[in-house]
């Protein structure tokens, strides 16, 4: 999977400079957000990566190869491109839309149909129901899912997304963001994602690059950025995000307590628990999580089974707010955070969340 490097990239329109000596390395397998106020050059930067816009000077490399030396048509066909919901062609069916790049690449009909079916399944739409529909017979959210499926059609390593969820109402936007995170945790593409919505950036981004007036202000891992904003501009831009409400909207997986071991109930009963160093044992028999045990309690109980605590599971793609809600509603002490495959990512408790917020709000 490719790394994208921008070196001293400048774009001028007459005497207006849209992007000014931008140097940025976009890591592979991760979602990198280009964030900033409108007119900061983020969309121009995105479009220079697939050469819809040619830089005035500077160099852009993908996997070390300069894109200036590549054939632009071939380059674009190898990169997935998603724009706001209007991006679907209204005169093509869903299948026709998904098949655009495969047709350009000369795939035969059967292969395109099979690929379209496979991709619709991936984006949770029933192939039989959707293949022959036209875009205006879909809801905004469905259109956007098809847009993502279309971008993935020829299996590109890079996805460029230009405010893809911008025109969608807040509730559907949240569920599309969750859907996108789930998809990305399976596919691990190199994603460059333009948005001006800070909440979206914090939720989706592994890294965030903040731009202003064509300059890069700061590029860091999302939690780094929240904890150590580089200057007053970033602090102000993230102001709302660093407030309690916005912090609670960031992904639970990022904050989990990973000091735990996983073992089966049987192992624990045989005394396996007392030999471990981790303060917490998560009990799992096969695919089923049975509960958790705190080391301290295990020592004081005669019967190890009495130490097993009830729990709630939450998705790592969910927000901290969802974890808080789950804990409050169920009255449990701890939530076990799992990934989409059922793997245990860690645990979260109310005192921990309070500490996270105290840290984030400083």
């Amino acid at each position: 999977m490719p790394v994208i490097e921008l070196r001293e990239v400048t774009k001028r329109y007459g005497d207006k400079t849209a992007v000014d000596r931008l140097t940025l390395t976009i890591p592979d397998h991760a979602v990198t957000i280009l964030l900033g106020p409108s007119g900061c050059g983020k969309t121009t930067t995105l479009k220079m990566i697939n050469r819809l816009i040619e830089p005035t000077s500077g160099d852009i490399r993908i996997d070390g190869r300069s894109i200036a030396a590549m054939e632009p048509i071939a380059l674009r066909r190898s990169i997935g491109y998603v724009i706001q919901e209007t991006g679907l062609f209204p005169h093509y069916t869903v299948e026709g839309n998904i098949g655009v790049v495969p047709r350009l690449l000369g795939w035969d009909r059967k292969r395109i149909r099979a690929r379209a079916e496979e991709l619709l399944e991936l984006v949770n739409l029933k192939a039989v129901e959707y293949l022959d529909r036209y875009p205006n017979e879909l809801s905004g959210g469905e259109r956007q899912r098809v847009g993502v499926a279309r971008a993935l059609a020829a299996d590109p390593g890079i996805l460029l997304m230009d405010e893809p969820f911008g025109a969608i109402d807040p509730i559907n936007r949240r569920s599309l963001q969750d859907f996108f995170l789930g998809l990305q945790s399976d596919l691990h593409r190199t994603v460059v994602f333009v948005t001006h919505d800070i909440g979206e950036a914090v939720k989706l981004g592994d890294n965030i690059a903040i731009m202003r007036d064509g300059h890069l202000v700061q590029m860091d891992a999302t939690h780094e950025l929240l904890e150590h904003p580089a200057d007053a501009f970033v602090t102000e831009l993230l102001g709302a995000t660093r407030s309690a409400e916005q912090l609670l909207l960031s992904r639970a997986a990022r904050y989990v307590d990973t000091a735990f071991v996983v073992m089966s109930t049987e192992q624990m009963r045989r005394g396996g628990g007392s030999s471990g160093n981790a303060p917490l044992i998560v009990l799992r028999d096969g695919d089923t999580i049975k509960g958790y045990v705190e080391q301290g309690q295990l020592v004081t109980c005669d019967d190890p089974d009495e130490a097993i605590c009830a729990f709630e599971t939450v998705s790592g793609n969910g927000t901290l707010l969802e974890v808080v809600r789950t804990l409050l509603e169920s009255g449990r002490k701890r939530a076990i955070v799992v990934d989409p495959d059922g793997g245990v990512l860690g645990t979260l408790s109310m005192p921990m969340i309070v500490r996270i917020m105290e840290g984030g709000l400083q």
Partner: protein, 221 residues
């Protein structure tokens, strides 16, 4: 009275209707080819567009009778001063304006984000034209072609004066003979032909782009 006329001249009516249809069809098809080629080649070239549309507009303002007469004179040296050739030529010249203008406007009106996404997915400019711009502009281009064809049906009436045949014969012959039912019969058939041509082209348009009415519904909401 008109009914009696139609019964009496039935064979003549059918023959002249066919003549009229062939004349209009030939002119519309020629003008469509010329208009599309011109309309596509001037799209994106402001100056060329002003010139081409300007010239076509001037042609359009020449009174039809005068244009027919001019063509008789112009084409006489090559032995085609009368008959089908000047008639079809005149109708073609008239039809170019609505087609070239609508093609140009249709291509301009295509949502720029559609063109950008086509490019961004790796279409060449030719592929973007054929797969995205023309299909999306088709309703407007077809409206231009329909306009031209229906206009040709009416204007084709004059062709009879320069030996081009067609339904105009009944109108002018009727006037000469002061035969009202002959004029009326000719006029009614010409009007019906115009309606028929319009309906046929609308039907063709619907078949050409199956998703078209979806696009329309979307535009409304």
């Amino acid at each position: 009275m008109t009914g009696t006329f139609i019964a009496g001249y039935w064979a003549e009516l059918v023959r002249r209707t066919l003549q009229h249809v062939v004349m209009v069809a030939a002119a519309t098809m020629l003008a469509t080819v010329i208009g599309l080629v011109l309309g596509i080649s001037i799209s994106g070239h402001e100056r060329a567009a002003r010139w081409v549309i300007g010239i076509a507009s001037v042609l359009f303002t020449i009174p039809s009778l005068a244009l027919f007469a001019l063509l008789v004179v112009a084409l006489a040296p090559i032995g085609q001063g009368t008959g089908n050739v000047p008639a079809v030529t005149a109708l073609t010249l008239y039809s170019i304006l609505p087609i070239v203008r609508n093609t140009w406007v249709a291509l301009r009106q295509v949502d720029p984000s559609m063109v950008q996404v086509a490019q961004g997915m790796g279409m060449t400019s030719r592929q973007a034209l054929l797969r995205v711009k023309l299909p999306l502009g088709l309703p407007m281009i077809m409206a231009g072609i329909r306009h031209a064809a229906v206009m040709d049906v009416g204007m084709g009436t004059i062709a009879t004066l320069i030996g081009g045949g067609g339904l105009g014969y009944f109108v002018f012959e009727g006037i000469a003979r002061a035969d009202r039912s002959m004029v009326l019969a000719g006029t009614i058939v010409i009007a019906l032909l115009g309606l028929g041509v319009n309906a046929a082209l609308l039907e063709a348009e619907n078949r050409l782009v199956p998703g078209r009415h979806y696009g329309r519904r979307r535009a409304r909401d």
